[in-house]
């Protein structure tokens, strides 16, 4: 769906390839996981991939029973939705030490700012800036690991065990055990 920004994800990768030639995008090195792959919007995304010569690079994986095999242990999550108030995928990536580059709108930007990872946040729709941040991060494994640890710690504060009691207290108006 366009709201999730699959087309923008491709735009960022296309920009990365154009303006950061030193960054290697190997075959199968990127993936969009989730969403229907037999859908008119998916056809548009495929057209973008083909036009940018990214067909071999990006896999449109469609819905998957588990995200575990897909987390990029040595990479990052590009989160490019036009609107997404509280994306769980960013928290789940952070819990695995995978840093996210995202727009300064919605819950992902707020989470990363609070985690002290504000340099992973760019203005909404700024495809060039997102590509630049991603390239910089891919070229600096130590920095990526450092940010991964930062967001992992921040995400641990958002675990169900931590959040549920606070949420319940807010809902019923008193602290729980």
């Amino acid at each position: 769906m366009p709201r999730k920004g699959a087309d923008l994800f491709v735009s960022v990768l296309a920009q990365l390839r154009s303006s950061q030639p030193a960054t290697t995008l190997r075959a199968g090195g990127a993936a969009w996981v989730g969403g229907p792959i037999a859908h008119p919007f998916a056809d548009l995304v495929r057209a973008d991939l083909e036009a940018a010569g990214l067909g071999p690079v990006v896999r449109l994986a469609g819905p998957q029973p588990s995200l575990e095999p897909w987390w990029p242990a040595k990479g990052l999550l590009l989160h490019a939705p036009r609107e997404d108030p509280a994306p769980l995928v960013v928290l789940e990536a952070a819990m695995r030490g995978v840093p996210t580059v995202t727009w300064a709108t919605g819950g992902a930007g707020t989470f990363l700012e609070a985690a002290g990872a504000g340099d992973l946040v760019v203005d909404a729709g700024d495809v060039v800036a997102m590509a630049d941040r991603a390239a910089a991060l891919l070229a600096a494994p130590e920095r990526r690991a450092e940010l991964g640890e930062q967001v992992r710690i921040a995400a641990s504060e958002r675990s169900t065990d931590r959040v549920a009691p606070r949420l319940l207290a807010d809902l019923i108006g008193r602290e729980t055990a």
Partner: protein
């Protein structure tokens, strides 16, 4: 004089490229016929023209005034009872009876029209309409004038009808050369396609819009802007324009980024706190009236055969920067504008900055002269007639 009768089938008469191009050709055709021009150039033109539109729209009045008749099959808003019945039947798993009801309704709507010698299917979106009408008449000369490239064609025509679209017409015209996928679809016929582009809104006098006169000297006030025109979305590259706007916001003073057309619709819209550096004007009857002097037209489209706005900007002396799609690289070649890979926003930024500088006026003048020579109605009109009627 000719005794030809021509039906032109069009999807709608909204304010978008294909209907506007048709309205301009019809105006030229009627003016030429009145002046006796067809006797001297193309024998008879298209004769008596009857337009059949699936839906009407703001251009309906302008079109109706130029032709023998205009038949609109569906209301501007909502559906006819026949279409409602067809949709409902399809949802109930009974598509055949539903289609029969719709076909009956459409054929009845055109029953009183004189039988055509020539049928022009104007735009891919009109092909399904013609498919439901064709048995209402004896086999005419069938001409297809595509205003789309491959993605547009596949979005407008059900897969089951694509084969016929490629094989049935006696003549095929396009506004630019077919792209690779359309080449594959058309097969050997791709080599025989006639190229008939749209035309400017300029006639002998000042530029005019299809719905009324405008003036080349009427421009918006203020500092030069970077302008895009069209229906916001994937095809027109609205996301690329936004990314370009982000690049152009520094150094200051940055040009205003103006999108003439409605904001992106549901699903494509950004969250309300996105603070986008683009001003959306909504759709305008005369977009050029709000474009300040010295502005640049940017066309970041993913797929755009040959947008009329490029011709309109050209005739008004505006520099044009475009993504490499459809006929735009050819239009802007030989120093008449700038072309960049559409997916490379940095490359677009570089050429937009050039166009805003002194080189902009120089290239704009070359484009103006080229458009005035090759894309005026009286230059395109004879090609239109020659491509669509039997030799």
């Amino acid at each position: 004089m000719t005794s030809l009768c021509t039906w032109i089938v069009v999807h709608d008469l909204g304010r978008s490229g294909a209907p506007i191009a048709l309205a301009r050709m019809l105006r030229w055709h009627r003016a030429t016929a009145r002046a006796g021009g067809f006797d001297r150039t193309i024998e008879g033109g298209l004769g008596s023209i009857h337009v059949i539109a699936h839906r009407g729209g703001p251009l309906a009045g302008a079109v109706a005034s130029e032709v023998a008749s205009l038949t609109v099959l569906e209301p501007d808003q909502g559906r006819s009872p026949a279409l409602t019945a067809a949709v409902a039947a399809a949802q109930l798993g009974l598509p055949a009876p539903g289609a029969a009801v719709l076909t009956h309704h459409r054929r009845r709507a055109v029953r009183s029209l004189p039988r055509p010698d020539v049928v022009v299917v104007h735009g891919a979106g009109a092909w399904p309409v013609w498919a439901s009408l064709e048995r209402a008449t004896a086999r005419p000369w069938l001409a297809l004038h595509l205003h789309e490239l491959s993605i547009g064609v596949r979005r407008s025509v059900p897969t089951a009808l694509l084969g016929e679209l490629a094989s049935r017409p006696d003549a095929i015209a396009m506004v630019c050369q077919p792209d690779a996928a359309l080449h594959d679809l058309l097969g050997p016929r791709a080599r025989a396609v006639s190229i008939v582009p749209g035309c400017t809104d300029e006639e002998d006098g000042p530029p005019r819009s299809p719905s009324g006169p405008t003036s080349a000297s009427r421009r918006g006030a203020g500092a030069p802007a970077v302008v895009a025109v069209g229906e916001a979305g994937w095809r027109k590259g609205t996301d690329r324009f936004l990314a370009l706007a982000r690049q152009l916001t520094a150094p200051t003073p940055a040009p205003e980024l103006l999108w003439i057309g409605a904001e992106p619709g549901p699903g494509w819209a950004w969250s309300v706190d996105a603070d986008l550096p683009v001003r959306w004007t909504g759709a305008l009857d005369d977009p050029w009236a709000v474009v300040p002097e010295g502005s640049v037209l940017a066309i970041p489209s993913r797929e755009d055969p040959l947008p009329l706005v490029a011709l309109e900007a050209g005739i008004r002396g505006l520099p044009v920067v475009a993504a490499a799609t459809g006929g735009l690289p050819s239009l802007l070649a030989e120093g008449r504008g700038w072309v960049a890979p559409g997916h490379d926003v940095r490359a677009l930024e570089v050429v937009v900055r050039e166009a805003l500088g002194p080189a902009g006026a120089e290239r704009a003048e070359r484009l103006r002269a080229h458009v005035a020579e090759c894309f005026r109605p009286d230059a395109v009109g004879p090609r239109w007639v020659a491509a669509l009627r039997p030799a």
